[in-house]
């Protein structure tokens, strides 16, 4: 068993004392693709931002997040900045707004290389950017590098975002709903691109989505999140075929669009849950990580 690349333990996020995510623990190994699924509002994106250290003002994270053994929470901004883009990158959900509208594409890609001193000068930064754009399968990369974001389609922009995220050859890629804003027709190709990029770099991935099909397609292992807590975890195939937690069953049922209840109505989540989720302030979440779920012994699997 290889050492965990990312170890999350007791991670919680709160907005002014109001908890959003509670006592999260999981790990991602190098080369491993872990899915994090749940409805919108379940705390997935907040978790991703907490890992990156990019929580919006007013939100605070507690617990521990270790990347290759290095503690990220509470680390000085300078150190985090060195890691971001180089060790850990992120693909965002909304390609329309993730790019700076007033800056050409090329410099936006080149920037990540320049920040981390990967290229000696502007010229080679430009060439590297064009190469990175070619790498994500964009047509006519030199011309595209000179374009502004608004001149690109949504799918093209997401490829640019992925190019930026992969340009620094990170060890861990955090993908936050990378295909949700895209047409179904381009989704598959973007997912393939991510998969290939990860494979080429042997990078680990935390893949956040509400779409079970996408997660089933990409991830080897999956965590199910509900109301700020992970309620179930395990190999993708096992979780999706033999869900243990009622919420997971609900998710699965809801994603099966054709299924109706005995009265012919579409199924809703309430049917699968025995009452509202427990408040995050209460202790003892129902699920504890096990070794099977990828917990290194050092992470404490008690």
């Amino acid at each position: 068993m290889s050492a965990a690349l990312l170890e999350v333990e007791g991670l919680s996020v709160a907005a002014e004392g109001r908890p959003l995510v509670g006592d999260l623990r999981f790990a991602v190994r190098s080369g491993e693709r872990v899915g994090l699924i749940g409805e919108s509002g379940s705390g997935k994106s907040v978790t991703a931002l907490a890992l990156m250290g990019l929580l919006p003002p007013g939100l605070r994270a507690g617990g521990s997040v270790r990347l290759a053994g290095r503690e990220l929470l509470g680390a000085p901004e300078a150190e985090l900045s060195r890691l971001r883009g180089a060790q850990v990158s992120m693909v965002f959900q909304e390609p329309m707004t993730a790019l700076n509208p007033t800056m050409r594409i090329g410099p936006q890609v080149a920037e990540v290389l320049q920040v981390h001193g990967r290229v000696p000068d502007r010229r080679s930064a430009w060439q590297a950017a064009v190469a990175a754009l070619a790498d994500v399968g964009l047509p006519d990369p030199p011309a595209l590098a000179r374009a502004y974001p608004h001149q690109l389609s949504g799918g093209q922009r997401q490829r640019v975002v992925i190019a930026i995220a992969l340009a620094g050859d990170p060890a861990l890629l955090v993908c936050d709903e990378p295909t949700s804003a895209l047409d179904v027709t381009v989704q598959g190709r973007v997912l393939e691109l991510i998969r290939r990029g990860l494979a080429e770099r042997g990078a680990g991935c935390l893949f956040i989505s509400h779409d079970l099909a996408v997660v089933a397609d990409v991830c080897e292992r999956v965590l199910v999140m509900h109301a700020g807590r992970v309620v179930e975890a395990g190999p993708t195939r096992r979780v999706l075929t033999r869900p243990q937690h009622p919420y997971t069953r609900g998710l699965l049922a809801a994603s099966d669009l054709g299924r109706t209840d005995e009265h012919g109505r579409l199924l809703t989540m309430d049917r699968f849950l025995a009452g509202p989720p427990p408040p995050l302030t209460e202790p003892a979440p129902p699920w504890q990580g096990t070794a099977e779920d990828g917990w290194a012994t050092s992470g404490g699997g008690s």
Binding site: A15, E16, P56, G58
Partner: protein, 277 residues
């Protein structure tokens, strides 16, 4: 996040509202009662410091400062109300019309509106004063007219947003006439914007009145006005700074009050309707 925003807006509304209320109350009270006749010249009590009889003392004419301050508040509120009233009465219909009219007409109206921007209050007041002579009326009209463009712009932006919203589309689909839409849907939805803009415009009007009075194009003596009190206090700035401090603080407090009130109200409004200036 929104919880925090509205709470912060709440503090601004509270402080701003209190300052505005103070000014308005002072103005209203001055109709019923002032400690002394604010324009009564009395050589025996020139330049007196604060005392039980004259709480803030007297000016070089022996006039009571508190009374002048109170009646000055009346002038301030009066000028502000009329100026903002003119601006809103012209600017709001103009903005709604420009939003609802055919594209070319809307553009034309906004260009005409931009043209007004080229005539700031001071310039208008100087021109008007040259024609009609300086006075409160001239100042109010000048300030009001020069504030029209900001109302029209804000209202137009807000109206366009309302017009694109689903409920308006539904109303139109249901066959409601444009004017019905304007009155039933657009106006109520931009009312908040107008109130915010009015509050900010009020602050600008207070400042403009002070500047005009300083130049001698504002409220003519002996009618008390904060701007003129400031102007008259100048020559005694070093010997009796109290005369400048009192109206200076009053002007600053009123402007601050209206600005805070406007900002706070803006924060409370639906952020989608926030006008981008």
């Amino acid at each position: 996040m929104s919880g925090r925003g509205s709470r912060r807006g709440g503090a601004a509304v509270l402080v701003g509202g209190a300052l505005v209320a103070l000014v308005v109350l002072m103005a209203l009270l001055s109709f019923l009662w002032t400690p002394h006749d604010p324009t009564l010249v009395d050589a025996r009590v020139r330049l007196q410091g604060p005392s039980p009889a004259y709480w803030l003392g007297t000016d070089r004419f022996g006039r009571d400062l508190v009374s002048q301050l109170m009646v000055g508040a009346r002038t301030t509120v009066y000028v502000g109300l009329v100026a903002v009233g003119i601006a809103a009465l012209v600017g709001v219909p103009l903005g709604v019309l420009a939003a609802m009219a055919p594209r070319w007409l809307g553009e034309l109206l906004m260009r005409a509106n931009d043209l007004l921007l080229a005539f700031p209050a001071l310039l208008l007041a100087v021109m008007l004063a040259a024609v009609l002579g300086a006075g409160t009326g001239v100042a109010m009209v000048a300030i009001g007219v020069s504030t029209v463009p900001s109302f029209a712009r804000v209202v137009r932006a807000g109206s366009l947003q309302v017009l694109r919203s689903d409920f308006v589309l539904a109303a139109r689909a249901a066959g409601r006439r444009p004017w019905g839409v304007a009155v039933r849907h657009v106006l109520p939805n931009v009312a908040g914007l107008v109130i915010v803009q009015a509050s900010v415009a009020f602050a600008i009007a207070v400042l403009a009145e002070a500047a005009l009075s300083f130049l001698g194009f504002g409220t003519p003596p002996p009618t008390p006005s904060w701007g003129r009190m400031l102007q008259e206090s100048q020559s005694l700035l070093f010997t009796d700074p109290r005369l400048a401090v009192v109206p200076g603080v009053a002007v600053a407090a009123a402007v601050l009050g209206f600005n805070l009130l406007g900002d706070g109200l803006r924060d409370r409004l639906d952020p989608r309707l926030e006008a981008r200036r």
